[in-house]
């Protein structure tokens, strides 16, 4: 009986010890996981093992530039297609560029940015070129650090809006020598963004604005079920258009002032003089 009790006690102690160990192990495991996650989130350079990039320098450039491209796209989208709008309307604390404008009343607007795709492409290009240069320098240094002989010939950068993506291509040549020689000609990176589609709609709306002074937005939403088009008309005659892709959340907004009417009878003195 005593032995049994003692055994039970021993077993109980043993169990307690084991439970305690398990507990400790669990705690340690949780800590490790948390630490790993924290490190992963806050030390992005550690994200990818360089061995992944070693055979894929385009991926390095992609990851290096991706945030910059996305931020540029967002900023441009919110501001009517420009990084630093010159002629704008302040809406919701943002400078929204006029894509179509007429100062006068009763007249339809004049397109202010006719080659909108080209303009946005060059805005993105201008905004990321410094970062792109840095990324290539980093790439070069990283390879050198890994013992490669690096010959990098930086070429032209080209930005193009294509369906569902922003395509950046670098006409650069990277030659790596470490034992054998490998050459990478041109670097192409793609960032998901449907600026292309939204700008296409914007161009269409601007065409309406310049011809009729207004646009019928329901048609676009009927044809493109994921598209939402909002129109905000302001007292001074400015209309803010907000195009949203409800799937991705991507947004493009711009301003237009076309066929504005003054309040009341405005410049209609002719009626006064004729009636009195």
């Amino acid at each position: 009986m005593k032995n049994m009790k003692k055994r039970k006690r021993n077993v109980g102690n043993l169990l307690k010890q084991k439970k305690g160990q398990v507990t400790i192990f669990i705690i340690v495991a949780v800590v490790i996981v948390v630490l790993s996650v924290l490190i992963y989130m806050f030390y992005p350079k550690i994200k990818g093992n360089f061995s992944f990039y070693e055979k894929n320098p385009s991926a390095f450039i992609h990851d290096c530039l991706e945030k910059e491209i996305k931020d540029s796209a967002i900023r441009i989208s919110e501001q009517g297609g420009s990084i630093s709008p010159e002629h704008y309307f302040i809406y919701d604390d943002k400078r929204v560029e006029y894509l179509c404008y007429n100062e006068e009343y009763y007249l339809t607007c004049v397109v202010q940015q006719p080659m909108l795709y080209n303009h946005i492409e060059s805005e993105i290009k201008e905004n990321i070129k410094e970062k792109a240069k840095t990324c290539f320098e980093d790439l070069e240094n990283t390879y050198k650090g890994k013992g490669y002989a690096v010959d990098l010939k930086q070429g032209e950068m080209n930005v193009e809006l294509i369906p569902k993506k922003i395509a950046i291509s670098f006409n650069s040549t990277l030659t790596l020598t470490k034992g054998k020689t490998e050459t990478y000609k041109s670097f192409n990176i793609f960032v998901k963004n449907n600026l292309y589609e939204l700008v296409s709609i914007a161009n269409s709306i601007v065409e309406w604005e310049t011809t009729y002074g207004d646009s019928e937005t329901t048609t676009y939403m009927n044809n493109y079920h994921d598209l939402k088009v909002e129109k905000k008309k302001h007292t001074d005659g400015t209309t803010i258009y907000i195009l949203t892709d409800s799937n991705t959340g991507n947004k493009f907004q711009f301003a237009s002032r076309s066929l504005a009417w003054p309040p009341g009878y405005g410049a209609s003195e002719v009626y006064v003089s004729q009636l009195t």
Binding site: H87, D92, E103, E104, M115, Y271
Partner: protein, 1131 residues
């Protein structure tokens, strides 16, 4: 007793004088307040010019040069002639993209790959014509060149369909043939044949990758998903390939491993929203595939659902996805829009109601169309569609402004008014008070939706617009409140004028000025509040639906025209007469009531009418002045201004905020939801001090914030002369409203007269002050004693108050000359002007002159004749109240008809003599001799050299175009008349309707662009008139034909060694020996110019692929014909 009686009499006299003077002076002030100077009447700033780039970065705008960037001003008034501002088509030849309506300066022509075309909308630039580019399963609506580029990038076969509209292109995307593309290692991708070819797989049309016969790795019906660009829920196989539309009956959906079309899938043509069994969602029916959210029912196999996109019951109407409807802040139409209101379009989009505001100030209004859909169990099912359109109130005013020389013209104009959805017919000229005298309008055409005013704009003409309805009437009915109400309702139709509620139902004090009439009572004020409640207003709005039936007063003359008119429109008429009382005449009644019918209000019963029958002044004239609406004092109403912020769907704006209260201000108006708040009250009344005064007058003895004197420097007694307008101003240190009165009053509201700016808040307050002579008053009655004293010490009591009604009193002292009148009369204005022309062939002309004082006038054809010897007398109005307005001024009119006009120059010599009441020696003793002009006033009229003639109208005859609408440049050239054809022209689709102005005034070339929507014959009536009254009219017949058909080859045969083709219309034909996919520019031409016959060398061994294009540029998408000469087999 006698003393008391005398005192009472003197008081009465004083009151009479004061009222008469107030009437006289107030009219002077009101009329003088209309457009201060002629420069304002010309609203285009003469300094403005085209600026290539403004300081704010805008391109090609007409602005003041100070707003232009350095070096960017052009010196030209318009941008049309400036090269940099030319508008055309900017073409990127490398990308094959085109930007229509582009500025030349922004086209980046430094880039050699970019070129310019003058065609504005790129429609005539061949490389800009978009079509449907098929890229595998996807499509893009782009140019052919861009399509080639895209195709090459994707490694696909070029497939471009031209002549296809965008919506058709999207439909093509959904009809692409898909199938299982089996790749090596038993992999499979579900795609198009083109994509499969690129991957070098084996394409199995209409089969799913999971089809057992294909022996792939893909297992069927592994999961369900939504698909981008598709409405439905789909099955997916284990390889991630799309299968068929989800159906809980798996076998049916699987369809033995073959594609099952939407039409054959479950629940086709139904909404299927919330269905557990069927994933055949349909956007057009109001559902779309979506991940299930809380509260939604998913389908059995996964967390997806056909989400209902309809909005359900909204205000007792079921609203479907895509439907839109109008929403209003209160009552609408027939001039009942409340102040501050805006029109809204509500849309049901993806299950949510989105609200879009039309432009503020009612510059846009909401128009709704209801389309019949079906008979539902609860009645007729309609789908509505609404949009904001510009408020064309100006078309109504244009109809009202025009003179109608005959009944037919007036009737045609009334039809125009009724048929115009932005207008309604108001009152006829015989309505008491609406008598425009010489003009004699048969009716008033009023805006259905009155435009909103900017209450803070003190320089606008809005107050002048309200002031148009300033009228007098001596009919007994005009002394009733009903008349005042009716006048007010016309007043409110002009714009934000008169007594009317705001969007919160607050009715501010009546701004209108009513003299000798009945003011508006409380019951009426309470009644009109209901117009701010849209639901209530709908129920009772019919009572004031003047458009539906005419409440007209008839008095001979126009009666027949008006009765016939409404009979033709099948409208009933309410007429009123003493014998039969009120009666309603249905349009079908034959004959007309043969009792004499006189002017009376239709709402009155017979007995009341009898009191008013027969005119006769029976007292002083009633006067009504329509004034601008003014925001109420929001005062102590808690959260008064904040009421504007209550509805986040209807954001507050400057207009809405300021309509709620005069102390309400808008903050953050560039945010999505601005806020309306009460401005801070500093409890300080405005300081009042002297402003400007014209030459020969001066301000003297100023006591700040108390009083000041006005003195005339040219007289020893410093008294201001009679019959002379003095312009002076007072200033305040903050924006304030000011009023004045001859009597001291307890409050601002009690004071009767306004300064020139009316109710506007301003810092400078101008007044135009003029007094008649004391003797003019004497002539109206036996008045002496008090009046002289009063003239010697006139006090103008002024009170100014700020936004928060903090007010201060101020007095302007002056004396008016009461010495005998020794000045000769002066002619202030001629109508028509001296030196003007009369119409060719006329030999007489009406003339009216306006004098600065009551006088009699004569004229002669010879100069320097004594007044008494002149033989031609003019008809002159000589009573104190007989003054009339002309333009901005007033004067006493004298009229005559000048006869015996000859060609060339006609000179008349006029002289006048004042004090027409001086007839006897006793009068002369009392008033002194009458003053007569010794020098002549010369008046000249010239004859027009010839008739005005419409030389040409173009275009005429047939115009063939591709599609509607077609723009037609209408041009009219005139000659002759007063000045080489310079005139104003109008065009209309009806013979007797004046229509719309054609091009500029005062020119002999008149042009405009018409937009015509329909095919067929159109007759356009043209009427031109010059300033002398020469008129000509003409019409143009246009036959519009639409031709969007490509030319058809009707015959093909050999002739003389050539292949000869004949087309059904003039065209150019081209051929290629390879296929139908060729560019016309690079192909061999069969025609030199547009023709119906076409030739090519006869070549037996070749196959001719022929395409033809007509004059409008229409060609078929493929070949018009494929010809093998060896067989002459036509394909």
């Amino acid at each position: 007793m006698k003393k008391q009686k005398l005192k009472a009499e003197k008081s009465k006299i004083k009151i009479y004088i004061i009222f008469t003077m107030i009437l006289f002076i107030s009219i002077t002030l009101v009329k003088a307040s209309i457009i201060d100077n002629s420069a304002d009447a010309d609203f285009s700033d003469p300094l403005e010019q085209c600026c290539i780039e403004t300081n704010s970065g805008a391109q090609c705008q007409v602005v003041n040069p100070s707003e232009c960037k350095s070096g960017k001003a052009t010196g030209t008034k318009t941008c049309e002639q400036v090269t940099e501002c030319k508008i055309g088509c900017c073409i990127d030849t490398s990308e094959r993209t085109c930007s229509p309506q582009s500025l030349f300066s922004k086209c980046n022509l430094d880039n050699e790959l970019i070129r310019w075309d003058n065609n504005n909308d790129c429609s005539e630039v061949s490389e800009c014509i978009a079509g449907c580019c098929i890229l595998g399963e996807k499509v893009e609506y782009i140019t052919e060149g861009r399509c080639r580029k895209r195709t090459m990038e994707k490694g696909l076969i070029f497939n471009f369909k031209e002549g296809v509209e965008k919506t058709e292109c999207l439909a093509i995307a959904n009809s692409q043939e898909l199938g299982a593309c089996v790749l090596e290692n038993k992999n499979c991708v579900f795609e198009t044949i083109a994509e499969c070819a690129e991957q070098k797989g084996t394409f199995n049309e209409s089969l799913l990758c999971s089809n057992e016969n294909l022996d792939t790795l893909c297992e069927k019906q592994y999961s369900i998903q939504c698909v981008e660009g598709k409405d439905e829920i789909y099955w997916f196989d284990s390889c991630g390939n799309r299968e068929n539309i989800y159906d809980s009956d798996k076998d049916k959906s699987y369809n033995k491993g073959e594609i099952l079309s939407k039409e054959d899938s479950c629940g086709f043509d139904k909404n299927n929203a919330g269905s557990k069994n069927c994933g055949n969602c349909n956007y057009d029916k109001g559902s779309i595939c979506s991940s299930t959210e809380f509260g939604e029912t998913s389908v059995d196999e996964g967390d997806f659902t056909c989400r209902n996109l309809d909005c359900g019951d909204i205000d007792r109407d079921y609203r479907e996805n895509g439907e839109s409807w109008c929403d209003y802040d209160g009552s609408v139409k027939f001039g009942t829009d409340v102040v501050g209101s805006r029109h809204w379009v509500k849309k049901c989009i993806d299950g949510k109601v989105e609200v879009e505001g039309c432009k503020d100030y009612r510059t846009e209004v909401c128009i709704q169309e209801n389309t019949f859909v079906s008979f539902g169990k609860d009645g007729v099912v309609r789908k509505s569609s609404a949009t904001c359109t510009p408020n064309r109130w100006n078309e109504c005013m244009k109809i009202s402004v025009n003179d109608y020389s005959n009944m037919a013209e007036g009737e045609a104009a009334m039809t125009d008014c009724i048929e115009n959805p932005y207008c309604y017919v108001g009152y006829t000229s015989d309505f008491p008070g609406i008598n425009e005298g010489d003009k004699g309008y048969p009716f008033l055409c009023l805006p259905n939706y009155p435009p909103g005013f900017n209450f803070n704009d003190t320089t606008s003409t809005n107050k002048d617009i309200c002031g148009i309805l300033t009228t007098t009437c001596d009919d007994s009915w005009c002394r009733t409140e009903e008349w005042t109400q009716q006048m007010n309702e016309i007043c409110t139709s002009f714009g934000d004028c008169g007594l009317w509620p705001n969007i919160k139902g607050i009715v501010p004090p009546d701004p209108n000025i009513i003299l000798n009439g009945e003011s508006i009572s409380m019951p009426y004020r309470l009644f009109i509040k209901t117009y701010a409640n849209p639901k209530l207003a709908k129920a009772i709005g019919a009572v004031f639906s003047f458009g539906e039936f005419a409440k007209i007063a008839i008095d001979g003359g126009d009666m027949l025209m008006i009765l016939n008119f409404f009979k033709a429109k099948n409208k009933e008429i309410i007429v009123f007469g003493p014998g039969e009382g009120r009666q309603t005449i249905p349009p079908t009644k034959a004959g007309w009531p043969d009792v004499p019918i006189t002017a009376c209000h239709p709402e009155l019963d017979v007995e009341s009418c009898a009191q008013y029958i027969g005119s006769g002044s029976g007292g002083s004239e009633v006067s009504f002045s329509c004034r601008p609406w003014r925001p109420p004092k929001i005062g102590g109403i808690v959260g008064g201004c904040e009421k504007c912020n209550e509805d986040p769907d209807k954001p507050c704006t400057q207009y809405r905020c300021s309509s709620i209260g005069r102390t309400c201000i808008i903050l953050n108006d560039n945010l999505e939801n601005p806020v309306c708040v009460q401005s801070v009250d500093d409890k300080q009344a405005p300081d009042i001090f002297k402003g400007k005064i014209e030459n020969h007058y001066s301000f003297e003895n100023p006591i700040p914030n108390e009083e000041i004197d006005i003195e005339y420097e040219e007289r020893s007694d410093r008294c201001v002369p009679e019959f002379t307008t003095i312009q002076f101003s007072l200033k305040t240190n903050e924006y304030a409203q000011c009023k004045w009165d001859f009597e001291e009053k307890d409050s601002y509201d009690e004071m009767s007269e306004y300064f020139n700016e009316g109710e506007d808040f301003a810092k400078e307050h101008e007044l135009n002050f003029s007094m008649p002579s004391i003797w003019t008053f004497e002539n109206e009655g036996e008045l002496l004693g008090d009046l002289k004293t009063w003239f010697a010490n006139t006090k103008i009591h002024v009170r100014c108050q700020d936004h928060h009604a903090n007010g201060r009193d101020y007095i302007v002292n002056l004396c008016v000359n009461s010495a005998p009148d020794i000045d000769v009369p002066e002619i202030l204005n001629y109508n028509p002007e001296s030196g003007s022309y009369f119409a060719y062939g006329e030999n007489e002309k009406d003339l009216t002159i306006y004098l600065n004082e009551p006088a009699e006038c004569k004229y002669s054809n010879d100069p320097e004749i004594d007044y008494d010897s002149m033989s031609n007398s003019m008809d002159c109005k000589t009573k104190l109240n007989d003054w009339k307005t002309y333009g901005k001024e007033i004067g006493w009119p004298c009229s005559t008809t000048l006869t015996g006009l000859i060609e060339d120059e006609n000179i008349f010599y006029i002289k006048c003599k004042d004090k027409p009441w001086v007839k006897t020696q006793a009068d002369i003793t009392k008033y002194e001799e009458r003053n007569v002009n010794t020098d002549d006033f010369e008046y000249i009229l010239y004859n027009s050299e010839s008739k005005l003639k419409i030389e040409s109208v173009s275009p005429q005859n047939e115009i063939t175009v591709r599609t509607a609408p077609v723009s037609v440049d209408l041009e009219v050239i005139t000659s002759g008349g007063m000045d080489n054809g310079k005139s104003i022209c109008y065009y209309s689709k009806r013979k007797d309707s004046l229509g719309f102005q054609l091009g500029a005034e005062n020119s002999n070339i008149h042009s405009t662009t018409l937009s015509i929507l329909e095919e067929g014959e159109k007759i356009i009536w043209i009427k031109c008139e010059d300033e002398a009254g020469n008129i000509d009219s003409e019409n143009s017949t246009l036959n519009i034909k639409f031709d969007n058909e490509a030319p058809i080859i009707v015959r093909a045969f050999q002739e003389g060694g050539n292949l000869k083709l004949i087309t059904n219309e003039e065209a150019k034909c081209y051929y290629d020996f390879t296929n139908c996919d060729f560019d016309l520019e690079n192909a061999s031409s069969m025609t030199t110019a547009f023709d119906k016959t076409h030739f090519a060398e006869w070549n037996l061994g070749k196959t001719y692929h022929v395409k033809c294009e007509d004059i409008l540029g229409t060609s078929s998408s493929g070949c018009a014909m494929i010809i093998e000469p060896s067989k002459l087999e036509l394909k």
